[in-house]
């Protein structure tokens, strides 16, 4: 009688294990299906941006302060070189935008007038002021190659977090 009872318990356990196994397989299958359905370009862009940001954050974590500030300024300059004015505009500090470029159109036309189409950058000096960094930067016109075509700018950068920053620059 006792033997029969323990055998039936074992049967119940076995049935439960099989059910859990089948249930798990069904869920995994369902998730795999849904993961690959309805993926839009926007979703891909979001994932790409997230990955890009993650890589940048990891790279920046290895850098010292000075290198990180140079990275941020170069991100801004690269955006201007690539005519991504909206991207560059979002990097600017709000009060600076209010003071000098209330609209993106003004910023875009200023960049087109002031910055060369392609330029190399020399970082001449950096000063820290609490959590603000002031940089002295020389922009050289890479196409003309003329030494006297270089324009000096001050960049002021505030790092909120890794790859999270705002900046401003001396308007010429």
């Amino acid at each position: 009688m006792k033997k029969k009872k323990s055998t039936s318990k074992a049967n119940i356990v076995l049935i439960l294990v099989v059910m859990i196994f089948v249930f798990t397989i069904v869920i995994i299958n369902h998730r795999l299906k849904t993961n690959h359905q309805n993926i839009t370009n926007q979703d891909i862009q979001v994932v790409y941006d997230q990955m890009h940001n993650e890589i940048a954050v990891n790279q920046l974590a290895e850098m010292d302060e000075s290198s990180r500030m140079q990275y941020y300024v170069s991100e801004f300059i690269e955006a201007i070189e690539n005519n991504q004015y909206e991207k560059a505009y979002t990097m600017l500090y709000d009060d600076f935008k209010t003071n000098y470029f209330p609209s993106i159109n003004e910023f875009e036309s200023y960049c087109k007038e002031t910055f060369p189409k392609m330029f190399s950058v020399t970082y001449e000096n950096i000063e820290r002021n609490g959590d603000i960094y002031i940089m002295w930067v020389k922009c050289n016109d890479a196409l003309s190659g003329k030494k006297n075509a270089a324009v000096s700018f001050n960049f002021v950068v505030k790092e909120n977090n890794l790859n999270d920053f705002v900046l401003s620059f001396s308007v010429k």
């Binding site: 055998t7 074992a10 002021n129 609490g130 603000i132 960049f155 790092e159 890794l162 401003s168």
Partner: protein, 330 residues
Amino acid sequence: MQFTDIRLKMIRLVKKYKKILFIIVLVWGIIFFVNYYIGHRKVVPKATTTYEPHTSIMSSSSSTPSSMTSEIEQKIHNYVEYCKVGDFDEAYKMLSEECREYAFKNNVNEFVAYIYDKIPSESIQYSIQSYSNIKVGNKKVYIYEVKYTPDYLATGLTNETYSYATEKISFYRDDDKNLQMIAGNYIYHNDIKSISENEYLKIDVVDKVVNYSIEKYTVKFTNRSNNIIVIADGAEENEVVLSLNNETRKRAETETIVLEPNQVAEYEFTFSKFVDDGDIANDLLFSSIRVMEQYSGMKDKQGNDIDHETIQSEIDNAIAKFSMQVAVKE
């Protein structure tokens, strides 16, 4: 062998070794959990920075106790905010009584004149840096440098050159454990009351006021003679110096100190000395005191220089020439 037999064997096996099996399952569960935790733990990379506002730059091994840092930050913040909006009375009230008396002569207008140069507008930004920590009596004083700048992030330094103003703001806990704040580069005051005297002259060092980079002594002279006594008129080298452990410092003032017969007069002497330089002020040394038979001064009534021969002859004929030293060591 039938399926039932296998099952029975397994059940027997489980029953026989249930304790061991339980431990194996438990260990496996722990390993599984730890592995899952490490695998899914999000390590947020942090930006490395050399900016450590509460670590003294004079001695990197010395920091402000963490129990005080947030209170200090809050006090500096409130002080600057009051000044930015022009509520100077409130900012002034934040300072210790001693600071108000010795740094600003109990006059809020003196404070306004001082701070307005540094914080002239609401847009001024500031940053703090622990500078050094010193002991004054039984109190530990935490000295901070506060740097004031225009809002460079808002201007990008457009049409400006990089510049800033600074002041030393210090903190200490008083006997009631209240955090006292002292500004205006002032650090402390000491009633020295040290005297040196002889038949001609009594020198009484009344007190000293220590700022971050200077020490200012108030000295009372009593001319006990019926003759003119010259303390300092530039005729001799190093007429008044502050003697430290390893060197002497000249006074900053250039005014002549000449006492009329029986005159009592008070003068201030300022010496450059950083409060955290590790050196100690030992004595005030008056090295060329002259009791004059005749004294024409260094310039005549028309403002022309008296000739060197006359000056030398009067010094040579002085009734007495001596030096006096007054201890000022705390």
